[in-house]
């Protein structure tokens, strides 16, 4: 009886029962309020002009078909525009015209279909309000009985419940099969401790300051008053992780009048005749700070408007940054080129959990 492959069972394949009295929607676990708002029901039916005046109905009918005719015009326009405004090699302006008019045509065609359909349904289709009840999703008793029979027959024919060795090893195989994912996802974590990487940059004693992007060294005499040089450490262009290193080591080099600098104790020899070098990485969230105003000596971060005063060792004078930009101690070598005295004396860029300062 459970076998139904020949379709002899007339109940086979019947779908859900749509609606039954014993399956009214239940309130579920929701709290029933004692002073619940009463369902006011529908507003009284108000006839539309199309319902009472056949002339208006005909006018609306014409309007709907006008939208659909407009859609056809849009389609024709799109095809015509594609032919009239071809894309010419080497003339990028022709791409814009082609895309613009093709797009306008297709948009007109599709939007008109939508507007026509909505106007049709609102003005001409039946205008009565109605409620569609949800129905239960429980199948008929016969359907449920048949599902159980299918399972029981499957169990009997395959011996799934009887051959426990097969069953248990299958379950075991399925349980362990996702384990390779654990190994794969473990590798998404950093391979090495990132903290030392954050604490140090490419700069070290004797590294020449070079121009970004050419990598040519800079003589102190070339940095005239009011100049701003964008600086990378020597050898950056040849280093293995060029972008990672540049993101930490980028420096802005400026020359001020030496008497304008307010140098704190311990930093007396960090500048060279008023030439100062500061990390370009904002201490807020790490944007490159490079908007240098040569008269006010203010350095502005374009992301969140932090301002640093270069005359006061890049002190924060406005904005969300909490620490001054780290200064790179510089001097000149025997050939007159600017070199670093050491790495930065603190980590550059934004805060991180393990930062000590």
């Amino acid at each position: 009886m459970a076998k139904d492959h020949d379709g002899t069972n007339p109940r086979a394949g019947t779908t859900l029962e749509k609606y039954r009295d014993d399956q009214l929607p239940t309130p579920g676990t929701g709290v029933v309020a004692s002073d619940a708002v009463e369902n006011p029901g529908f507003e009284p039916f108000r006839a539309r002009v199309s319902d009472v005046d056949p002339a208006k109905a005909r006018a609306n009918e014409r309007r709907v078909s006008a939208w659909f005719v407009l859609s056809i015009i849009g389609t024709v326009f799109a095809i015509t525009a594609y032919i009239v405004f071809p894309i010419v090699d080497g003339e990028p302006g022709t791409i814009r015209n082609n895309n613009l008019f093709l797009g306008l045509g297709i948009a007109l065609a599709l939007v008109s279909i939508g507007f026509g359909a909505v106007h049709w349904s609102k003005s001409l289709m039946d205008g009565h309000d109605l409620v569609e009840q949800r129905h239960g999703t429980r199948g008929t008793e016969a359907t449920r009985q048949k599902a159980i029979e299918v399972f029981e027959l499957g169990n009997k024919e395959s011996g799934f419940g009887r051959r426990t060795l097969i069953r248990n090893t299958l379950i075991g195989a399925l349980v362990v099969s996702p384990l390779p994912a654990v190994v794969l996802f473990r590798d998404l974590a950093p391979a090495e401790n990132p903290v030392p990487l954050l604490q140090h940059t490419m700069w070290k004693k004797g590294t020449r300051l070079t121009r970004d992007p050419s990598g040519t060294p800079i003589k102190a005499s070339e940095v005239t008053l009011g100049s701003a040089f964008h600086v990378i450490p020597e050898g950056l262009n040849e280093s293995e992780h060029k972008l990672e290193e540049k993101a930490k080591a980028a420096v802005l080099l400026m020359r001020l009048k030496p008497q304008d600098l307010h140098v704190s104790q311990g930093r007396e020899d960090w500048n060279y005749n008023g030439i100062v070098a500061y990390s370009k990485i904002c201490t807020h969230v790490g944007c490159p700070v490079a908007l240098y105003e040569q008269q006010t000596h203010h350095l502005l971060c374009p992301c969140h408007q932090s301002q640093f005063d270069i005359t006061q060792e890049a002190k924060v004078i406005f904005g969300p940054a909490k620490r001054p930009l780290p200064q790179l101690p510089i001097t000149v070598d025997s050939e007159g080129y600017l070199v670093a005295q050491s790495d930065f004396t603190e980590p550059v860029g934004p805060s991180f959990w393990e930062r000590k300062l």
Binding site: V49, P92, R96, D212, F229, E293
Partner: protein
């Protein structure tokens, strides 16, 4: 103008009016673009549309600025602009930057109207007001009862 420059030159040494060979815009636009991104774009915007500085100061837009003005500005650093002397950016590289700016001026925006080339600020404002506005208007129309 040349006479005025000659008079100023008698008062002390200083940069001269740049020679024509660097102003024609016949350099390498790609090299100029890289130098522009490194040295200029943080203030002047990557498309040369200008931008705000502190306390109401601003970096002016560079569209339509003559090559000789661009060159002289790099050399002298007007107002708060830093100086980019010939040791920092060589005359050939200054010519490359001018070539890039000329290219920006002469190349039409392929993607359509640029909304001032200000990037996500103007584009976001536009879609926020007109895109969302259109969605709200259509929703109101869809749900309103027909007369």
């Amino acid at each position: 103008m040349a006479a005025l420059a000659a008079y100023v030159a008698t008062k002390g040494p200083g940069p001269a009016i740049p020679s024509e060979q660097y102003l024609a815009g016949e350099g390498d636009a790609a090299v100029g673009a890289e130098l522009f991104r490194i040295n200029c774009a943080m203030c002047h915007n990557v498309a040369g549309a200008g931008g705000a500085l502190t306390e109401g100061k601003f970096a002016p837009p560079l569209a339509g600025v003559s090559a000789v003005h661009v060159y002289e500005a790099m050399l002298t650093g007007p107002q708060n602009m830093p100086v980019f002397n010939d040791a920092n950016i060589s005359p050939e590289d200054k010519a490359n930057i001018i070539t890039y700016l000329k290219y920006l001026d002469e190349t039409p925006s392929v993607g359509g109207y640029g909304l001032g080339d200000l990037g996500p600020v103007s584009e976001g404002l536009f879609i926020w007001i007109f895109g969302l506005g259109a969605i709200v208007a259509i929703t109101v129309w869809l749900t309103a009862k027909s007369n």
